[in-house]
């Protein structure tokens, strides 16, 4: 573990990513306590440009709502959706991949055909359809993002398990008569974890983008403000008021960038040999 943090902190991208993520998380957690006003509240005149009033530093939108407050509350929704849907995707993807890789044969065939079924449908289109059918709400959004993002996890885990299952220590475990689930959980998965962690950090970023895109198209939860919603709602007035779209857009950009940097840092830290060879 110490080794891990050491190499993580040695990688500049990892450090930058971590800082960004920490800032974003603390904004999401503590921001709403510091700015208790609802971001939906109409506080000033509409279309107030940024940096004119200290009470609404980033200006107001078409209804006179505080953009800064919207960004703070939006951080909560965006990060939450990103994390929860990634978690859900892992919960589905990891077992599917592990079983396919470990048991092989017909089980593998069946599970992989099932996975491919999802992979053949363009993921964003599928997400839109799912949200539209289920009615837009935070739950349907998380669910649909999870549904479209678990297949890569399953495939990755399957590949790892396939290579690990022929290792001697696994064969030794089989010989000593340990149960299949024990072997998968205790012997194989822990060793397959590092690429999954890297992938997961990138999935969070993708999920944030997916949620933003859905909200942008008006398929967000109408009761929660999110960055994507702000960009979508401000887009029609972009010629009159650029700031309504630009600031939440920057927030999306930075947080997604931060997560990608973390992914890179994790990759360096978890696969030190690979990264050294790469340089």
């Amino acid at each position: 573990m110490k080794q891990f943090w050491k190499s993580m902190l040695k990688s500049p991208s990892g450090v930058i990513g971590l800082v960004i993520l920490l800032v974003a998380i603390s904004v999401a957690v503590f921001g709403p306590m510091l700015f208790p006003n609802s971001p939906w509240r109409m506080v000033q005149r509409p279309f107030l440009p940024p940096f004119t009033l200290s009470t609404v530093p980033l200006g107001t939108d078409a209804l006179g709502r505080d953009i800064f407050a919207g960004m703070i509350f939006g951080a909560r929704v965006s990060l939450l959706v990103g994390l929860v849907s990634t978690l859900a995707a892992l919960i589905v993807g990891v077992p599917v991949g592990a079983m396919a890789g470990y048991f092989g044969g017909k089980v593998d065939d069946a599970l992989m055909r099932f996975t491919e079924f999802f992979q053949t449908i363009p993921s964003f289109a599928l997400a839109i359809v799912l949200v539209a059918i289920l009615q837009p709400s935070i739950y349907s959004i998380v669910a649909s993002i999870a549904v479209v993002s678990w297949p890569p996890v399953a495939r990755l885990v399957r590949g790892e398990v396939l290579s690990l299952r022929t290792r001697e220590y696994v064969q030794a475990a089989v010989v000593t008569g340990q149960s299949n689930s024990w072997i998968i959980l205790r012997e194989i998965l822990p060793n397959a974890l590092s690429p999954v962690i890297v992938l997961a950090s990138l999935m969070v970023a993708t999920a944030i983008l997916l949620e933003s895109s859905l909200s942008f198209l008006g398929l967000g939860d109408p009761n929660l403000i999110s960055w994507g919603y702000m960009v979508g709602a401000g887009r029609t007035v972009i010629r009159q008021a650029w700031w309504i779209t630009v600031f939440p857009g920057i927030a999306i950009l930075i947080s997604v960038l931060g997560l990608n940097l973390i992914g890179e840092g994790l990759n360096d830290a978890l696969n030190p040999r690979l990264s050294r060879e790469g340089r």
Binding site: W40, R41, M42, L63, Q135, P136, P222, A233
Partner: protein, 548 residues
């Protein structure tokens, strides 16, 4: 939501005042040009008269925006605003109405009223054919009335006073009323009483008839194709019964779901006509200033759209009058007008728009007063029960308005959950009474007997239909007043009755009235005579032509 059914009440009233008792109202008379009776006759198709200074040119294609995509085009069964706008070209009514709401001939070439104001005789135009070539006759009128009574809530109400309809010959229709009904001549325009072909619908299941998807009417344009999500294409009816019309070859109703894209489509020349309400309000000033662009507020005289919130009177906290009054106090309607509607329109004072006959503002006032709203909620014992709000899926303006109203209501302590939905889904939820608060706007048709009473009388509570009394308000006194008002004479008596009804309704708040809406139509100046009647864009493009 968005309703659209319309009727032409006012029309009727004025017409009656003018044409009272058995005078033949034909067009020459209206034009009042004794020396030029002949010209008058030539102009009998009428509306275009003032613009004839310039000779109309034939040919050309108009691209207009339709927003949102209509759920269907069978006007006798679907009455959403966009349906009326497109189908007004395909179907026709017996009459149409001038901007002053006087009746003008369409499928009926003349009409007369008996001395006792109980018998109305319409002479139908001869030589009119359906788009499939079959002749249009009195039998079609009779059949249309039968169908509309079942499929068209407003038509049913409008026809309630009709005792019997007879067709002495193929081109005469005689309506006998139970009692004199002031607004009667105002119920015959295409949206209120579209004529449907008997030979295609009689004996079939109307709801599933294949012609619902490719409607056949008598109108100036014929349905050609509908690429869902892209455009609806209408082509010229070469056998149209007004010789020389229509002037245009084709109309494309472009479906562009995104508001900004609609503005851009106009700027780049992809569309030539932006009917009222099709671009966001904040874009109107900018687009109006573009070169070769003409803007008009005309063409809504007949409708006077009024926006309100349906409040489900049946269940939960909204069953309590005090909660409903609290909503009226809690919503900042001036803000909505100034910010969301860019200053267009007027704050509504009650169930009638100020342009409607017998309107009074001598009613209880509901200024923006959150403190009062909170007090009323407390008094009513409201404890934060969840209330569902259904915005209108008609674009950004309505979404923003939904958010603003939600915030207003939350500010006084109500718990509001917004339900996201599309147009069809919203229609269905309202028609099935599956909502607590829902946005809508409805047309008023000039006379309280036609466009106002329908939303408050208890006989109009019918599940599965949209534009009737979906809030479930039931008050015997209101029922009685609207029943009396429709048939009372003279007008001073009607005025008294309707003013009383307005006072009671505003006290009871069966729905929360928001704004009288204004919808400017933006178009290129080369498009001529687009709006010639009080029905505006919804009246079909038969007089429109392009100055190339």
């Amino acid at each position: 939501m968005a309703d659209g059914d319309w009727d032409g009440p006012t029309v009727a009233l004025r017409a009656r005042a003018r044409a009272k008792r058995f005078r033949l109202v034909s067009l020459e008379k209206d034009y009042d040009m004794p020396k030029r009776v002949l010209l008058g006759l030539l102009l009998a198709c009428g509306l275009a008269a003032p613009a004839l200074a310039q000779e109309p040119k034939t040919g050309g294609v108009i691209n207009a925006v339709i927003q949102p995509e209509p759920p269907g085009l069978m006007l006798a069964q679907v009455q959403n605003g966009p349906t009326q706008m497109v189908s007004g070209n395909i179907f026709e009514g017996l009459l149409r109405y001038s901007p002053k709401l006087d009746p003008l001939p369409e499928l009926a070439e003349s009409w007369s009223v008996s001395e006792d104001a109980k018998t109305y005789t319409f002479k139908l135009k001869k030589g009119v054919t359906w788009h499939d070539g079959k002749p249009f006759t009195a039998a079609d009128v009779l059949f249309s009335i039968e169908m509309l009574k079942q499929t068209h809530a407003r038509a049913r109400t409008n026809l309630a006073q009709v005792d019997k309809v007879e067709t002495p010959d193929d081109h005469t229709v005689v309506f006998t009323l139970k009692q004199p009904f002031g607004p009667f001549l105002g119920i015959f325009e295409v949206g209120s009483m579209p004529m449907v072909p008997k030979h295609l619908y009689a004996g079939t299941d109307w709801k599933t008839n294949p012609y619902n998807n490719a409607p056949i009417g008598t109108g100036p344009f014929m349905f050609k194709e509908w690429q869902k999500g892209s455009f609806i294409r209408l082509v010229k009816n070469p056998n149209y019964h007004e010789k020389g019309k229509p002037y245009l070859d084709e109309i494309y109703w472009q479906i562009i779901p995104d508001a900004a894209a609609r503005s851009v489509a106009y700027e780049t020349g992809k569309v030539d006509v932006l009917p009222g309400g099709s671009v966001e309000n904040f874009d109107v000033p900018r687009l109006s200033k573009l070169k070769d662009t003409c803007v008009t507020g005309a063409g809504w005289e007949f409708f006077s759209p009024l926006a309100w919130l349906w409040l489900n009177n049946r269940q939960g906290p909204l069953a309590d009058k005090r909660v409903r009054q609290a909503i009226m106090y809690a919503v900042d309607r001036d803000f909505a007008k100034d910010v969301i509607w860019n200053g267009l329109g007027k704050v509504a004072t009650g169930p009638s728009a100020s342009t409607i006959k017998f309107y009074t503002d001598d009613v209880k006032k509901y200024p923006y007063d959150p403190a009062n709203a909170k007090a009323l909620l407390k008094e009513a014992g409201y404890k934060g029960e969840k209330i569902r709000l259904l915005p209108l899926a008609y674009g950004e303006t309505w979404q923003r308005w939904g958010e603003a109203v939600k915030q207003n209501l939350q500010d006084v302590g109500m718990t509001i959950e917004t339900i996201a939905t599309d147009v069809a889904g919203g229609n269905q939820k309202i028609a099935e009474w599956d909502y607590d608060i829902a946005f809508t706007y409805l047309y008023q048709y000039g006379d309280p007997a036609l466009g106002v009473g329908r939303n408050y009388i208890s006989s109009n509570i019918a599940k599965g239909q949209m534009f009737n009394n979906v809030e479930g308000y039931s008050n015997p006194e209101i029922d009685k007043l609207f029943a009396e008002g429709a048939v009372a004479t003279p007008d001073s008596k009607r005025k008294e009755i309707y003013e009383k009804a307005q006072k009671i309704l505003v006290e009871d708040v069966p729905v929360a009235w928001m704004l009288e809406l204004q919808f400017p139509t933006i178009m290129r100046c080369k498009v001529k005579n687009l709006i010639t009647t009080g029905i505006g864009v919804n009246d079909g493009f038969k007089d429109a032509w392009l100055d190339k």
